[in-house]
Structure formats: structure tokens, C-alpha cells
Symmetry: C2
Subunit: 286 residues, 2 copies
């Protein structure tokens, strides 16, 4: 039995995610990006703990997320784990969702229930979270300018007027954001990643790196698509696919190339963090 | 203002300590030891949080320490941070000790008060902590076999019969244990390390590595002395002294040599962790 609990496991998932190496294009144990360094992620993970504990205690998802983001942002690197927290908060909340609260939580069903039960106030908390840190996001869908997340808390009156829940917001974003897509598809890739981590052998950080690469090969990263276009995102995915079972040096070389090109598959890292959390809850031993 | 609080800062201190590189002879961002890897320290730091929170809330030092150690031990690497927690728990407890509870805590005075106020029950908690994890310790001083910490909880009746407080136990160990020495000397090297970290410039992990090397140059590491003898410990200190202002490659080479020789200056890492915590409390920005 562990003393960590769901909030501690979520924090540990953030730490194992950033430590896993090589994680091409991302900060990892062996690589920093300019102005975004490993220690910023360590501080971000610890700072997020208060909000993660709120989610574990059954507090509303939106308020928990806003608190987690505000705590995460208390370091000098800027946005380290906004997307990862958007993955983790509903999953942590799902451990408090009815049922036994046992080691097997969160179930996909409980996670879907958390999503379905989100409110307009949860959406408001999500928007306010953007006030705490500078997050890269693309233009909103047509006709949704008043719901542009880049407006942060200023968009809250429009959120209330339109009566959109956080689930509605995620549905709006899902076609172009891999984290929002997980919210709407029952966290399919997240739970698959957890199983992959549990089935693998060897040191946990090697498993994390493998899981990241498999996710990157599976679907184009939506952050790369938003920042560099869909052609580049597809190329990155093709190259990750070719690296399946490739020698470590080939993956390292891919990692160097992506950093040199400023290509950061951050959404894939976010989904990886969610998968690590579920795996820890299901008994992944570190 | 930070959401982390003293318990979060103590946890972050554990993470920054293990990530600082090069930290000759120790696990760091770039180095594992056989069977003791970076991820074990990540899990150890998160697992210790519950006990650190107890200390921050003013719970007894011994019970807080035992809980922190039990949580830390929930990973497969064995003893990752026993000594570092023995440094941190009284310092965290000192933030709850009277006074303003402001950013400047812990003061050396508050830390000394925490030590002076420890009880026989605190000593019992300290002994019980040894039941949770295998810690390398030398033979006890002559005439103190019944207080041998390797007896763990079995020594508690002798602790009670002799009426020794945790401060008494530390005083007994101070001549041969650098962490216990900090308890008895007002955490002198700890507070000096905090000032060094605050005065330095550049990325925090570089400052941590510099602070570690300065501590290693300042005094022979007591874990190295216990495991390899005082001659080896003195040689390591001499070599660390020679490396002051040496090029990074020379420090890296020293780091490789120590790992190859199985020489692990773990006590120096423990004091470093204490210094990082105090620096974070005093506003060190990550």
C-alpha cells in the first residue's frame, strides 16, 4: 500500500513523464529547451499538488484545475504542464467518483462520468486558469470567438451566457487538441498507454520513453500541428513510426533533430502523463 | 507568493538535490548507481510528502520523520533519502515554531528550539523509522549497544528506559554523522549552504552542483568515512578542494571516478538538500 494516494501519484506521473528519456522534442532527463528547463518541471509538479489534492478530495474539476495551474505556474519556465494537468485532473477526480476508491480506480466509466458531470462553473475555472500562465493555443473554431480561451477569465461572462459546460468546451476543442479529444473519447489512448506501461519490462523511465514514442507514432501531435502545420505533424509521426524497435542511437538522433527544429510534441507528453498516472494507480512499481 | 508551502518546498528540495549535476558519487540527473536510479528518488520525494506535511503542521518530529521515511521507502531502490529527511524534518518543523511563519522561516533559532524540544517519543519514532528501510550505519559508540539504531523499533524499550530524547541520540551520533552534527551545531553548514545558493547566479541545478562540491570540499563526508575509512574520505575532500573553479570536464571526471569506485558521499547530499530547502523558503526562485 502506498502513502502517495491519487494526488501523489498524479504528481509522480508529472515527474516520471519529464524524466523519461529520450522523449523526442521535449524536455527530459537529458535535454533542456531554451528557457524551459528540467527544474521548471520539477517545481511545476510540486506546485500543482494543491490542486490535484482538491480533485482527489472531490472538489469541482474546474476549481481544482485552476488551482493546479496557478501552483504549477510558480516557476520561471512558463507553461510546463498545463495540458498534462488538464489530462490528470479529471482522472484524479474519477478516483473520488463513487465506487470502491480502490487501487483499480480510475475506471474509464468513472472518468466519463466526471466529464459528463462538468458544469458551467467548471468551464469558468478552466478559462480562469489561462490567466495564470501563457499557453500556446490556436485560433478558436469559427463562430466561437467569444469563447477563445486566450481571453482567460474575460471569457467567463460569455461562457455563462452560452451555458457551456467544461465538457462542451472540450468537445469544441477535440478536433484540434489531443487532450480535449481524450476527454471526449473516454480517455482511450490514456488507458491504452497505462496498459502498455504495465505490460512492459525494465526501468520505468525506459517504459515512459517507449510509451511516448508509441503515442507519437500513433497519431499526429496536435501541438506540433498548431505550431508548425499538419504536414510537419504528419512527418513527425511517420518518423516516429519508422523508429519502432530502432536502436537507441536512432531515437536520440530524432530527439536532437526535433529540438534543433523547435518542434515540441507537447500534447503527446500530456497524454503520456495521463497514462503514467493510471498505471501508477493500477500498481506500476517504481 | 507560492502555493507550495514548507512541505512542498522540502519535497522540491529533495527533487532539486537529486537533479543537480554533476554531484560526484551520487545519483543525479545524468547518473544512476547500480540498482539505485533517478526514478527511485522521484518516488521517494513524493512519498515523503505526507510526513513533511505533518512536520509543517506542528506534529511531533519523531512521528513526522517516521511517516516521511515510510512513504519514501515505497519504491524499489531502497534507501534514497533517509538522511535528507532527517535534515529536513526539523527544518520544516521550525517553520511552524512560534514567530511569524513568514518567508524567512526557518531561522537558526527556531531550528535549535525544535531540536531542544525533542522528546523520548521523538527518539522512539526515529528508531522505528529504521524498520521501514535498510540504512547503512556504522557500529554504535562503546557502551551504547542497546541504542544501536540498526535494532530499529526493538530498541525503543531501551530508549524509554534510558530516557534519551532525539536530541540526545543526535548528540551521540554527531562525531561520526554529518547530519546529526547539523542537529547539534545549529545547522551551521545548512544555513551557510542556503546563503551560497541565494548568492549564486545561473540555473538552480548548477548552483546545487556547486553547493554540493563546496560542502564536499569543506569537510570529509561521514558516509564515505563509515563505508571506506577516514583516509578515503579525506582524499575525496582533498580532490573536491582541488576542483574549486576547475573546468566542468574535471568535475565530470571526478564524478565518474567516484561512481566507479563505489564511493557515495551521501551525507553531503543530505546537507545540500537541507540548504536548498532553507534557500527556497528564503525566496530562491526556480
Amino acid at each position: 500500500m502506498t502513502d502517495r494516494g491519487p494526488a501523489g501519484n498524479a504528481e509522480l506521473a508529472l515527474l516520471l513523464e519529464v524524466a523519461g528519456t529520450p522523449k523526442p522534442g521535449n524536455v527530459d532527463r537529458h535535454r533542456d529547451l531554451p528557457d524551459l528547463r528540467f527544474e521548471h518541471f520539477l517545481a511545476g509538479a510540486v506546485g500543482a499538488r494543491g490542486g490535484l489534492s482538491m480533485a482527489a478530495a472531490g472538489e469541482p474539476v474546474g476549481a481544482s484545475f485552476e488551482r493546479a495551474v496557478a501552483g504549477m505556474a510558480d516557476q520561471r519556465g512558463g507553461n510546463t504542464q498545463f495540458g498534462a494537468l488538464l489530462m490528470l485532473v479529471p482522472l484524479v477526480a474519477a478516483t473520488a467518483e463513487g465506487g470502491s476508491g480502490g487501487e483499480e480506480t480510475p475506471t474509464p466509466e468513472a472518468a466519463a462520468t466526471v466529464v459528463a458531470n462538468t458544469t458551467v462553473e467548471d468551464a469558468a475555472g478552466f478559462y480562469r486558469a489561462f490567466d495564470h500562465v501563457d499557453v500556446f493555443v490556436d485560433d478558436p473554431p469559427e463562430g466561437a470567438d467569444d469563447l477563445d480561451v486566450r481571453r482567460g477569465g474575460d471569457a467567463v461572462p460569455a461562457v455563462r451566457e452560452r451555458g457551456v459546460t467544461l465538457a462542451d468546451v472540450m468537445e469544441l476543442s477535440a478536433p484540434r487538441d489531443g487532450v480535449a479529444a481524450e476527454w471526449t473519447n473516454g480517455f482511450e489512448r490514456t488507458f491504452a498507454t497505462a496498459e502498455r506501461l504495465l505490460d512492459a519490462e525494465g526501468p520505468v523511465l525506459d517504459r515512459v520513453a517507449d510509451a511516448f514514442l508509441a503515442l507519437l507514432a500513433g497519431e499526429p501531435d496536435t501541438l506540433v500541428a498548431a505550431q508548425h502545420g499538419e504536414t510537419v505533424a504528419a512527418e513527425v509521426t511517420d518518423r516516429a513510426t519508422d523508429l519502432h524497435d530502432a536502436p537507441p542511437a536512432a531515437v536520440e538522433s530524432f530527439a536532437e533533430d526535433l529540438v534543433a527544429s523547435g518542434i515540441n510534441p507537447g500534447t503527446t507528453a500530456d497524454v503520456t502523463a495521463g497514462g503514467i498516472f493510471v498505471a501508477l494507480q493500477r500498481g506500476l512499481a517504481v
